[in-house]
Amino acid sequence: MTIDTVKITIGVNGESTSADVEPRLLLAHYLRDVVGLKATNIGCDTTSCGACTVLVDGEAVKSCTVLAVQADQQSVTTMEGLSPDAEHLHPVAAAFRAEHGLQCGFCTPGMVLAAVSLLTENPAPTEREVREGLEGNLCRCTGYHNIVRAVLAAAGREAGM
């Protein structure tokens, strides 16, 4: 069987992108190598670590386990698209900075987007709900306390609730 490329159109951070791609191209590679947005990190490549988390139609997904063709005609948000500029950070990104919710920063784009998705589904989570809501994202600097604090701050709540 001949493998044809497929023409896909994906809204990325509000702008239409289009390309002829092999069906096997992963969404993470589409975003990094075709569109050229490098904030989306590929960590484990096995759906475990969450570093490649992006929003597809507003829901957090791991882009190493989604084919680009599966996101055809849908809208994707990456870390680059979350804040208009460095002076006007998205509330969750601002909270990560204010609460020092990162050390090396590798997990941060995925962590922030997972948190945005969590707060969309549950705008006022308890600390336990934040911890469970971020169970798909690993931070190997062991910075979870400040990450949880940042997500609670973004939700207007305090740790310990």
């Binding site: 989604v66 063709v69 469970e132 798909g136």
Partner: protein
Amino acid sequence: MIPVGFAYVRPDSVDEVLALLVEHGEDATVLAGGHSLLPVMKLRLAVPELVVDIGRLPELSYIRVEGSADGGEVAIGAGTRHRLVESSDVLGTEVPLLAAVARTVGDPQVRHRGTMGGSLAHADPAADLPAAVLALGGTVVLRSLRGERRVPITGFYTGVFSTVREPDELVVEVRVPITGSAGWAYEKFTRRANDWAIVAVAVVDGRIGLVNMGPTPLRASTTEAALADGASIAAAAALADEATDPAADVTATKEYRRHLVRVLTRRALTTAAAGS
């Protein structure tokens, strides 16, 4: 990791999917959420020639109550994502076990993509939902151009990653009886958040489904019979590993799994008894 190249098609209807399955047979693989299939394709353990994407067919995504001769059932479309199952008010009221078990699958990102039908059809012995549907006494609905058949979950699984589904058939629905206020519990043992179950036990209305205690999901029939004969929870749960055949792997020995299933069954039965 990159899958081997394949052709891709995203049909607009189930009928188109069924026609493609007839045309391509075992060369075609159905993709729903992709969270079981894509990992094995990336490892090149699965090398389909054609991937048929059903992940965006609205006709496969629903949760609805339906009457039946022996009481009501809830019908769940095969393409219904775990996130919808876990947050469904209908299931939360009518079949709370199923919503609770869906909530333990993977992590939120996985649950945004993974589907009920995909989890059942993939037939991973460590998967949560097959044993829950087994404890519920559910039914899997298979459709092909030849027609539709309803297979009780007790007869659906034939081995590790294998079911009675024929190559031209699509899992389109799962049906589970309404259990309402009957006691239930799900005890899942993992070492880390978002891991697969090492062993898990689903209990509802006196029936017990076991995860990862054999090549297929199993009922703890000996324990169920002991309970029906009036045995205590402790005495009945001590029999939970009878007629099981757990595998040994990097996470646990066979003996450890047998130990876990006895402990988890006792906990699950105790919780279910308190909640009924």
